[in-house]
Symmetry: D2
């Protein structure tokens, strides 16, 4: 198990950190200012000048599409282990990943297209996504059923001549609030009578197809996350060409499995970055505030929390690196215990670290003066998204129980 | 220790529950709808027709000013123990207490005026507050210093002839967003050279006094809590008559101590109601959702969480009743260990219970479809307001250490 | 809900506290010394002179059989609520309850006999137990099956003419190590084909019946708890008269339900006493030890732990009082949610409080110099005995889910 | 950061695992049987035939002194990273490390001698220790002062002519119960007026020097850990030649710092092995027990615990490997944050995992039928030994606060 960075990755890391110092951190206030102006002008669902301004600069500096695994289209792609320290840095500021074309759900969608798309599908959708010209959404979760069990899905994808007709209701379609969002990957059932894991298929649906209606945006702890947004989407007799189907009928579950591994680990990497930033803010705040004659940073209670936060972050990071290393070496399927582990560990860790940081900041911690409450809300949601903690714990347990059962019995 | 309700309280409880069933719960959607309309119309900082419509009805049914301790002005006032079960019910819906003129910070401000105000002050401010005609705010916390140590306060209240002149910056002035908010109770220093706890004074400042500027509202997580709001307020050369001072120069700390006890226990009672409601929503959700062939409510993991939630709520309620009973019997000062205990226990308990309820709801839990995320945000803030947990833990520990030290040594 | 003590109970409490100050606490060293002497003399399984010396004194002072509910045989018996503060005091020293003839499992066995025994059975066994002349054990748990599910029991009680013949293997038969232990109440199956909860019966088995073999004692962590002991007992063709059966064939489960409520609440009361003592030891230790120039008791980290410990103890006590009050008012069956709640809450609370106390004592905490590690071991075991936490959580959850399901649906 | 094992280490691991399968695990019952026989024969403080029988075999297989860093005396010594997976395996059975001459405190004492001893001291004590012919103890902690602050030490080491005279009282002198324990390393003060960290010295004291008295053994949760034992030792006018001093007067603190790093990481490695074994036992037990018609291993509650246990163990292991890697690369001093982190993390993790395993075993879990309760007791003690958690958290926090303070301020 070798977690060392190659000199190339080290160089990227240095460049990325400089980019943050020069162009991301100094622009945090401007980002919120632009959103505020859009909101006051009556439409917050529009792209931000700041992001569009920074994207060409990131691309010019080679800090672009770093998430992409090595492939014919990305000859210099990075593997998961190499991407980890870069993705972590990006996670320090919630809006930063998009600057580098590394934001969810586009990364997962691009990887899905790269891996499972036809050449025509890639030409049509992957290319503009890689260029950062359009954005995309992933429509899987539904409001009426327990999303922890993917076989509950109700959305139907029915063959009709040369087309498929999609009917269903989706929500938590993140990114669908963005006017640049041009395509959805939709999960639905092509055959409700097939074996449990062969009922589902995935299909590409252009966002402007008739029958699609954005019902509303879903706030997360009061945040609308505009212009990205988490939308509820109604699909009524949405008709797309049969060639829009990904991989084949009944293979939706297989694609989901292949897709979610990388998506999950990217979330975890970013989450570690967010936790690390909260930790720094906490330490700085504790050192600057005096109560009862001493800086808060001299109190043993805060020593305990600082120490535990440091231990938790570092452990989650190492586990994430191990998962990345295994995905690179033995593949996503063999690494599924590790992927499930970090999916459980990283958000829980970060919620605790951020909560301590909020407590250290007093009222300022829950306000918009620091990025803490917003980070908490976003990461708390990760404990539900892409499978709730409970489902991942079940996966880990079943795999471990099987492993132990296969061991020679204790003498 | 007798926690029984008198028949009178039992009757009030029955009436209040009926009021909830008939007029509060069925109007939750309308409440949010009115706010949404105001927001879309460009001004969310205005009173809600729904509340104004329900207030006369509550008053007519004798469900009005129930928080008020027995006094000349409130001959049928309730003591803390009697108010507890009523306040808990009100806490089930965040906006409900105002309907009964029992919402913070008005209750604390009314109690302060009743206890420490002159007859003229009462006539001028207490009467319209009791009638629900105006609202009020309490300006104590400041943005630049650690609010956990009240002696850090910087706001100055300087005598100048027959007036006092107030200069300072306050924030988390809850309720100051409401256009009906007509008066502030402001904590400041009249003598920075006096002994630590005699530097502070409290003064009544009409909201429309020149020199007052609402700088901005402070969101809590992503909620603006309009029209109530938590405001940052600048006071620049704000001049009020000397007769506006409460109780006397240097007695601000004393008033704060007397005021915060009831304010804290009311918060705790409402918090228990919020937790109880989250618990019910959690149980209902778990029974309605099927995953992997069974309702979630049959899983032993959820049994564990339901059981712990029930144990935690019930224990916090009993501790709150004990604190109320002690406040009634031996006074707020003798009950300060118990008040500190519930201030720590109730919000931590409720945050955990609500967090489990969120988890049970999946994505819906963090959205506005259920009152869970908003309740979490509000109650998380209580762990910082009116003294952070750490300060209350310090109080409890010091009192307990002194008690143990005074015991005869173990043989 | 009225938790006040009557003047009678208050008087008993005062007398009991004085007895502790005069005769229990000063004899703690002697107790361990007597056991050490017995151990070195080669037989630790014998009664202790100290206990036998104190029993008559306790009886003379009216501090005897206080656990016993009011009944023809105990006209001045105490109800659960009255017994609670007395039982808590006894729990401060693990060996103290026997001095007052209030120790487990004798209390539960006496209550079982009182409630379900025939007059002849009472004459034969209850009288000498009440007099403190003999002791008893309760044989329920078995080594080969999951004891969390009582229907798993394998021990057979087979009718044979005028006798029953018992065959089985029991363990955790607490008190069976004591040479004065004269009778066992044995749970077994009289009819393996009856409905699930009518297969079991309970029968009285004299300890000297042929076919009984004490296989070994079971240590708890490293403690043998001599001379009480937790024994593994083999029963091979153990023949007793049919009149030894309690209540009737198939009623064992019913007796168990009736018996376990009081047994559990007594354990909880004692557990709270043990936690309270650990808390006092912790505070005293922290005040006496200097590190880095200050007493440990001035560190905010210890303030946090002291505060949480105080909150946890007090809440568990109030919940236990509520459970006692309900058992007295509505009966053990109606109070089963509350009994299950304290069975989960009290031992978990005490384990945490004692663990903090151990940490405050450094190495001394895990040694025999303080009663902390032994208390931890005993109370940790309570999380498994009389039903593990998981089973009680399941009970609470099912009752709560049913209650919520029966409520009118939310509008 | 490269955690890969070299082929040599992989080969050692394979051999060690085979040794465990063939000679350690099958002898667990015999180990306890030998102790029981010794105890019944009246002297449990003697070497065990089993251990003496296995040692030559381990030595012959090259599984000997594996802990030893590369040095002139150990040309094939292993670095910390290489030793980690081997030490973890040894930790699966508490008595196993001695078989490989890798048990505490001998390993730490040997390393101290190797690093700081004179050639004569090495000849006299290190050689027989490396050969497994004698054993040793480390006398640092004292009963009367807070051991969390090492400057509290009271034991005096006074120069008198060509000798030093030692006076003091030590406890938790682990291994001093063993009759083969021939030498103590004693920490005391040579100059109470020197600067805080130059008052202490370390000196070699043969166990048979006049004036030494073993006062008693200290049980750990009821266990005497014989024949190893944790002893209280009185030193009264104990006279040794001046040449027995290690390194020089006033350098005791420096030696302690150098010594404790490796000692701590070895403890952590063994602790991870103990946790891993408890995890396996837990999984096996859950699969073998049926309650309410299903194996316990199918309950979602146990899935949650299994998953968290797996996540916690794996994270602690990775953090320990990182600490080992850093000690090897940048030295113990530069790695002190990481050493402090694992010292806090590993025992807390293992206590939680073992506690779950105990719960899964029911009553059997606290008995001697499984190695769980004994492992809990031993590892709980590690949270106090070699500096309590609180001191290590303080170290981590201070280093982190300094690091953050040195960062460029956030823009």
């Amino acid at each position: 198990m070798d977690f060392s960075h190659s000199p190339d990755v080290e160089a990227l890391r240095t460049r990325l950190l400089r980019f943050f110092d020069e162009a991301i951190l100094p622009n945090e206030a401007r980002y919120h200012e632009e959103i505020r102006r859009h909101r006051e002008a009556g439409n917050v669902w529009q792209a931000l000048p700041l992001i569009e301004e920074l994207k060409p600069r990131a691309r010019a500096e080679g800090l672009w599409n770093l998430f992409l695994p090595r492939s014919p289209r990305a000859p210099e792609g990075l593997d998961n282990l190499a991407y980890a320290p870069l993705c972590e840095i990006m996670g320090r500021v919630p809006w930063a990943p998009e600057v580098f074309n590394c934001s969810a759900p586009d990364t997962g969608n691009m990887e899905t297209l790269e891996r499972y798309g036809t050449e025509a599908q890639k030409q049509r959708w992957l290319e503009p996504l890689l260029a950062g010209e359009i954005r995309s959404a992933f429509l899987m979760t539904e409001p009426e059923v327990a999303s922890s069990d993917a076989t509950n899905i109700r959305c139907s994808i029915r063959r009709d001549g040369d087309d498929y007709v999609v009917n269903g209701r989706k929500w938590w379609s993140s990114g669908a609030g963005d006017p640049r969002c041009a395509v959805y990957i939709v999960m639905g059932k092509t055959d409700a009578d097939a074996p449990r894991h062969q009922q589902q298929s995935m299909i590409l649906v252009p966002a402007d197809t008739p029958g699609i209606r954005i019902v509303r945006h879903l706030p997360v702890f009061g945040y609308d996350d505009a212009p990205h947004g988490h939308m509820e989407v109604a699909l009524e007799d949405v008709r797309v060409p049969a060639s829009n189907l990904l991989l084949g009928e009944g293979r939706g579950f297989e694609i989901a499995q292949g897709r979610l591994g990388p998506g999950r680990i990217h979330h975890c990497m970013r989450t570690i970055g967010a936790a690390e930033r909260a930790f720094e803010l906490m330490c700085q705040r504790l050192q600057s505030r005096i109560a009862f004659g001493r800086p808060l940073s001299e109190q043993s209670l805060w020593h305990e929390r600082i120490a535990h936060a440091r231990c938790m972050i570092e452990q989650a990071r190492l586990l994430t690196l191990k998962a990345a290393w295994m995905m690179d070496r033995v593949g996503n399927k063999q690494a599924r215990t590790e992927i499930a582990m970090i999916k459980v560990v990283a958000p829980q860790m970060a919620c605790q670290v951020i909560d301590w940081a909020i407590q250290a900041h007093g009222g300022a911690g829950v306000s918009e003066d620091f990025p803490l409450a917003a980070a908490y809300a976003g990461i708390r949601t990760l404990r539900l998204a892409d499978g709730p903690d409970e489902v991942h714990c079940g996966t880990i347990a079943r795999l471990e129980l099987a492993r132990i059962a296969a061991m020679a019995p204790a003498p």
